[in-house]
Amino acid sequence: MSVAVEHEDEHLHHPFLQHQFEDLGQQHEASTLGMWMFLSTEILFFGGVLCAYWIYRVIYPEAWAIGGELQNKLAGGINTIVLIISSLTMALAVRAAQLGRRRGTVAFLVATLFFGSIFLGVKMFEYHAHWQEGLFPGVRFTWHEIPEFAPKVQLFMVFYWGLTGMHALHMVIGVGLLLWMISRAWRGHFGPEYYGPVEVMGLYWHFVDIVWIFLFPFLYLIPHFGMPHV
């Protein structure tokens, strides 16, 4: 008897409601909270590297000023705007899913994918230029315009490649997640009562945007002033 009741009950469930949750609302809250737990590890991961960046910035201010001057500020600025646009389209994709607009969700996710790809394209252009200029740390580091600062400028470039490289890796993972979400949205999985995956994907994408909001001034802009002039 009880088996039959349970069986009947199952048919009332939303197909994407996991059996351990009372309802879709509880499932949604749990997934959002879980994503924020993951993002707090990410905050401390990038935060730890940025802390090391600031320590060396205090110790070697001249080298950090030179390192900032070696960056392509226009490319960095364009990429910042491109990433903010992609965050807007990501937020609008979540909104379209909440409103049950299947084609809108797909369109905004594709737009996010498009702007994310532009970001990575510009980044590859910058990486290629730095590689040509001998600004890749290690045996390939041949920059020596100011020889006494070259080793410390190389240290700045370690932070540059490390921080932007980890950020770009997160973007590549985000592009993979976007393709997955586009496929699910296309199949009509999302609607007003079930849009958790798009929302959680959005949290990840916005977090990666926030990291860049800090990396742009740290690596491209503020090393220039407030430092002894070289």
């Binding site: 935060g47 979540v94 909440q98 409103l99 407030g226």
Partner: protein, 102 residues
């Protein structure tokens, strides 16, 4: 498409997203503009304040934290408190090393 009337109450209005986006774009231009003026020691704090403001806007509105549960707030604030501990203790070490006179 047919369900504007059954909209869940926590759907953010389109205008909010547009306003936040414009503020973020303006912040980007402002941080670039501020970096072209010599403010001496103030360049770094100005850039930090602008970046932090932008991050808070993204967290509150794009990431919907303004509508999130208190438990989510605890997790988010907790992670930034721990990040603060990381910075304060590390800098308390490095910035005071030169104070010791042998």
């Amino acid at each position: 498409m047919s369900d504007e009337h059954s909209v869940p109450h926590d759907v953010t209005p389109l205008a909010t997203y547009i306003i936040v986006f414009v503020a973020l774009a303006a912040g980007t231009l402002l941080t670039w503009f501020a970096s072209t003026i010599d403010l001496g020691w103030a360049n770094t704090p100005v850039a930090l304040v602008i970046a932090t403001t932008k991050a808070v806007l993204v967290i509150l509105f794009f990431m919907h934290v303004i509508h999130s549960t208190r438990l989510t707030w605890v997790v988010i604030i907790g992670s930034f408190v721990w990040l603060g501990v990381l910075f304060v203790l590390t800098f308390a070490d490095y910035l005071t090393r030169s104070w010791v006179i042998y």
